[in-house]
Symmetry: C2
Subunit: 349 residues, 2 copies
């Protein structure tokens, strides 16, 4: 693939629709409540990748959408982004993260109390918009998805500090907490475009595989990313006690001696985040001498090839995702989906 | 009214339906996620007043319900209780409350992280059940209500430590955060029983007035209640910086000197809660000597008759609520609603 391809280029076939999403988001979230307004303006001032709206639009594009459905599609695409934002806001409370999309998180700027409520508010507004814009099938699919997301997140919390977490269990968790929503967004677009049940199922599976690949890469970036490019707190998973694939792989490979070393470092990092603030020395790239625990851990992860292993797994899911697209005839929408899975593997944000 | 009347006696006309609610709640919340299961079992092991399910059932009873709707009614009644539970779980994070229904809150027992996620989980499950059990009208009404609840709670958070908060503003906040859901529950029951639009509106207004009276009394109990009977943290509002009617009234009446005294006490109490644990000396009834700041504040509130004033206001809303029932012919259901508003004024839990 062309490594230099930007998201804008990949999104080209649905560019006009995606341009309409931000104002649709603000329409969904319009409120006379001034404090809520301030927080909403603040959060959405930092643009995300709009991955979920893009998938909704591309899901519709792959079969072609009747113009009459245009407005509903944009409303649904925006609603998914709002729902995703709600989960991010609550996630940032749970992880005590201080940085999101390169700006301080809501819990840092306004406190966790307001973050809880604004998350709830976005959550409800998203549901209202999906109900209004969707149909019974779409809304049922969405409700089921919301349940999976919560289930995955509760599982993740339960497995914190569980050093015996298996790779399959990790994959099951990220399938629920991340991939399920991505699958729902693309399937929704496809349903709106009137695909067959078989085609909808294929796109749903595409979304699941794509989502798993996406999350594995995200979890690698939590170790190796550049905080400024990545736009969120680095080392957040370790600090929250969450084991992800690179660490699970490392623990599989090391002998007992080194294993206890890893566990010691991990325990030292666990809970270290809340006292750190944006702008201080980062756990990864920028610290001097390489003697801080995070860097020691990272060095071991590199030594054992656990990152390469993880990326290799992500590639496997990319391939599975691409395979699901094979039943569709070539089209600009399909091409974009193919490029998007490649992009996810090469991304650094 | 007969002061000794119990909730069970008042609920008599809908007793059989209410008995079916707990198992309907567990049906809505059934999950293979063991951690979620544990938390759900724990939370619902402490019975609440089931006010929302009771209102749903009584709303249906006031006109008579066709037997075919029976199952839907119970499912909706249970779903409202689940939705209410979700808001309580998040509220307890926000207020750092340690006691709810006489047992430690989820944030105390499992930490705020899990409380955020389990609140989200209950929220989603409730919405799913209301969608499944309701119809378009009921679900739209509910979504609108959920928006009001959030809006009211964000307003309340915004007005923390605002010593200039006016009584009307306080009333607007409690109307949204508390009364709107009570109104929605009774209107839903009535819609299911096939009432006219006019009758539905009257019951909705009943619910709003009832809810306002209920919340004013609740806010008085936060000052004067017995923690064991009340079942939740006393003095929680002051400790969270929330001004309620007794305090707003006191601030209206005192001169500048005493006002600054009140503000000093309030500021001292603000934020004092998180370090306290269930079982320690209570802020109100049980401390010795009466010299702690909460007792000084309470003495001033009593001296200026601010509690009587608040209860008088609650009575006014009780009367407004009862007036809305006048369009309905006498029935056991109607009688229960009348008794319920009286009960709320006399309650101590």
């Amino acid at each position: 693939m062309k490594k230099e391809m930007t998201l804008d280029e990949i999104y080209a076939p649905v560019e006009a629709r995606l341009r309409a999403v931000p104002s649709a988001i603000f329409e969904i979230l319009s409120t006379p409540n001034e404090l809520a307004q301030d927080v909403i303006q603040y959060f959405f001032s930092a643009p995300g990748k709009l991955l979920r709206p893009a998938l909704t639009c591309l899901g519709a594009e792959i079969k072609g959408l009747r113009p009459i459905q245009e407005k509903r599609l944009i409303a649904l695409a925006a609603a998914f982004e709002v729902f995703h934002a709600a989960t991010l806001i609550h996630d940032d409370i749970i992880d005590s993260a201080y940085l999101r999309r390169n700006i301080p998180t809501i819990n840092v700027k306004w406190g966790p109390e307001l973050a809880v409520l604004v998350g709830d508010y976005l959550h409800d507004k998203a549901i209202g918009a999906i109900f209004a814009g969707g149909n019974e099938k779409i809304f049922s699919l969405f409700l089921q998805t919301a349940g999976l997301v919560c289930d995955g997140e509760i599982r993740e919390l339960k497995e914190k500090d569980n050093f015996n977490l298996k790779e399959e269990e990790y994959l099951e968790i990220i399938d629920k907490k991340t991939a399920a929503l991505l699958a729902c967004t693309i399937e929704t677009g496809a349903i709106l475009a009137g695909v067959s049940a078989e085609e909808a199922e294929a796109l749903k599976r595409f979304g699941r595989y794509f989502g798993i690949a996406f999350q594995i890469v995200d979890d690698c970036l939590d170790f190796t990313g550049n905080e400024e490019e990545f736009g969120k707190t680095l080392g957040a998973d370790c600090s929250a006690g969450v084991l992800t694939m690179p660490l699970i792989r490392l623990l599989q490979l090391v002998d007992e001696n080194r294993k206890s070393e890893v566990l010691k470092i991990f325990s030292a990092l666990d809970g270290s985040l809340p006292v750190r603030q944006a702008g201080t020395v980062l756990q990864g790239e920028k610290s001097e001498g390489g003697t801080n625990p995070f860097q020691v851990l990272l060095a071991m992860i590199r030594e054992y090839g656990a990152l390469e292993y993880s990326i290799e797994k992500a590639r496997l899911y990319r391939d599975k995702a691409r395979l699901e697209l094979s039943i569709f005839p070539d089209s600009p929408g399909k091409r974009s989906l193919e490029l998007l899975v490649d992009y996810v593997l090469e991304r650094n944000r």
